[in-house]
């Protein structure tokens, strides 16, 4: 029997690859290998409805557990791959079992960065948020009245802050940069979310340098700031970004630089090995980028199935993201990397706003807060390669639908 296509990493990219492979009627056998005990699941709800306790675990699964077998896909969960032997075209489990592949697809994802152990990063009561088991460990600690300290003002930290406030915890959030979301959004988007969280009672501190986490009775009890101030905490969530899981690829000698490097067909420097999702690094508009998003993982996984089926396709998908915090729905389309000015478009209500990012005359991206029209029509506008002038989109009288379809 010929060797199967082996997928290492059971996340969104893997599920999307398999779905497309099945839908195209490809005959090559598939073997999906994942470290976690679960079939591929959605990660975005982890820091939202799942942490809030509003979504049961099975509903996180992208396809039901039995779906894979029904499609003839072999699965091995709870299985860690320790090595890729490119010469033999095999992957080797940590039990030294060698598994042959015809093509190998790396969907190894990313991991949450932690704080160093020297400053208390590994104390009991300190969490990061990336997987079902992370949430299952921390959820029992999310009790009303307890003090949660969040380190890092990115989307995961902000989403967790919103859930914690909804559950009645006292929340302090520390951001070492001048403002929350500094790396990913304009100052106006930061201001919107600063006000949103302040309005919900989060003690949000920017330019806050933490020197170390503090321990009492074998457990974290707070943090010391550079100013000397001590912030008390019953639990700490560290949300300071993610790093790509490239250990296997690096050890196998694949080209890596902030992710496994892939070309426009998601192929790595070994033509029999592809990579998709958070773990890979690719070129877009002359920039090397790595994205941690459902859209990117799903679209790259889908693309690889088409490539293996012989379709002449390359990766050009327009990125999009979302976040939910309290009653605010944030929708983002495009990438604002390299923007040099913005336009602000007020929405229909006080809580709605969109931020339009430009580089020169080119419209790059939109952050839409409770403003789905800016997201939906903005997406069409960007897809069509239209570049409406900033003063036009900033004018609330401008009909975005007409702009998109005109």
């Amino acid at each position: 029997m010929p060797a199967p296509v082996v997928i290492v990493g059971a996340g969104q990219a893997a599920a999307s690859f398999i779905s497309r492979h099945v839908a195209l009627g490809n005959s090559e056998a598939l073997l999906l290998i994942g470290e976690e005990p679960h079939p591929p699941y959605q990660r975005p709800p982890l820091s939202k409805k799942y942490l809030l306790g509003e979504l049961e675990r099975d509903r996180l699964f992208i396809r039901p557990r039995k779906w894979y077998a029904d499609q003839g896909v072999e699965t091995r969960f709870d299985t860690r791959i320790a090595e890729i032997r490119r010469v033999d075209k095999q992957v080797v489990t940590d039990n030294s079992e060698a598994i042959a592949y015809d093509k190998l697809i790396l969907c190894t994802g990313s991991h949450a960065r932690g704080l160093p152990a020297e400053i208390g990063g590994t104390l009991p009561g300190v969490y990061t948020l990336r997987s079902i088991s992370d949430i299952d460990r921390m959820a029992p600690e999310f009790q009303a009245g307890r003090k949660l300290l969040i380190v890092g003002g990115g989307y995961i930290g902000l989403e967790a802050a919103a859930v914690a406030r909804q559950l009645g915890l006292e929340v302090t959030l520390l951001e070492m940069a001048e403002r929350i979301l500094q790396r990913v959004a304009a100052a106006e988007t930061s201001r919107y979310f600063r006000e949103l969280h302040a309005g919900h009672g989060v003690d949000l501190r920017e330019s806050a340098q933490m020197t170390r986490l503090l321990e009492d009775d074998g457990k974290v009890c707070g943090a010391q700031l550079e100013s000397g101030e001590i912030v008390a905490a019953d639990l700490v969530l560290v949300g300071i970004g993610g790093s790509p899981n490239t250990e296997l690829a690096l050890a196998a000698g694949l080209d890596c630089d902030n992710g496994v490097q892939v070309n426009a067909t998601c192929q790595t420097s070994d033509p029999d090995i592809f990579a998709a999702g958070d773990c890979c690094n690719f070129s877009r508009g002359g920039q090397q980028i790595r994205l941690e998003s459902v859209q990117n993982a799903a679209d790259q996984g889908d693309l690889i199935a088409r490539v293996l089926a012989g379709e002449d396709v390359s990766y050009t998908a327009l990125p999009w993201f979302w976040s939910d915090q309290y009653d605010c729905k944030l929708q983002i389309v495009g990438l604002n990397l390299g923007h040099d000015h913005i336009a602000l478009r007020p929405g229909a209500s006080e809580s709605s706003l969109s931020v339009w990012y430009y580089r020169g005359d080119q419209l790059l991206a939109i952050d839409a807060m409770n403003e789905p029209r800016s997201y939906a029509f903005g997406r069409k506008i960007i897809e069509a390669g239209k570049n409406p002038a900033p003063e036009i989109v900033a004018d609330p009288a401008t009909d975005l639908k007409a702009l998109a379809l005109g």
Binding site: Q42, P44, R59, W320, K329, A376
Partner: protein, 106 residues
């Protein structure tokens, strides 16, 4: 529980019993209905779970709110009066027998 039927453009059909409380995007992906992706997990950000509802059933599938109405502008196949995003239709006994038509993007 509701028995739901998805009809594809090629004339094929998939029918399944769907547990109350599940949305019909989840139900479609669980039952391998083609062209229903639901990438955003049902949070109204991707418009990849578009269906046409058998007109006589439309009222029973519930109201289209402003966000869904806007997101229906983004679907691959252009919306019609009976368009819904199936992540916003929640299974209940009143929907037993519901028929959905699945548009096929080009």
């Amino acid at each position: 529980m509701a028995n739901i039927t998805w009809k594809m453009e090629d004339g094929s059909e998939i029918a399944a019993d769907v547990k109350d409380g599940l949305n019909l995007m989840e139900a479609a992906t669980a039952n391998n209905v083609p062209h229903i992706e639901g990438e955003c997990g049902g949070c109204l950000s991707c418009a990849t779970c578009h269906v046409f509802v058998e007109p006589e059933w439309l009222a029973r599938t519930g109201e289209v709110d402003d966000i869904e109405d806007t997101m229906l502008e983004m679907t691959d196949v252009e919306r019609e009066d009976n368009s819904r995003l199936s992540c916003q239709i929640i299974a209940s006994p009143e929907l037993d027998g519901l028929v959905l038509y699945v548009p096929e993007p080009e």
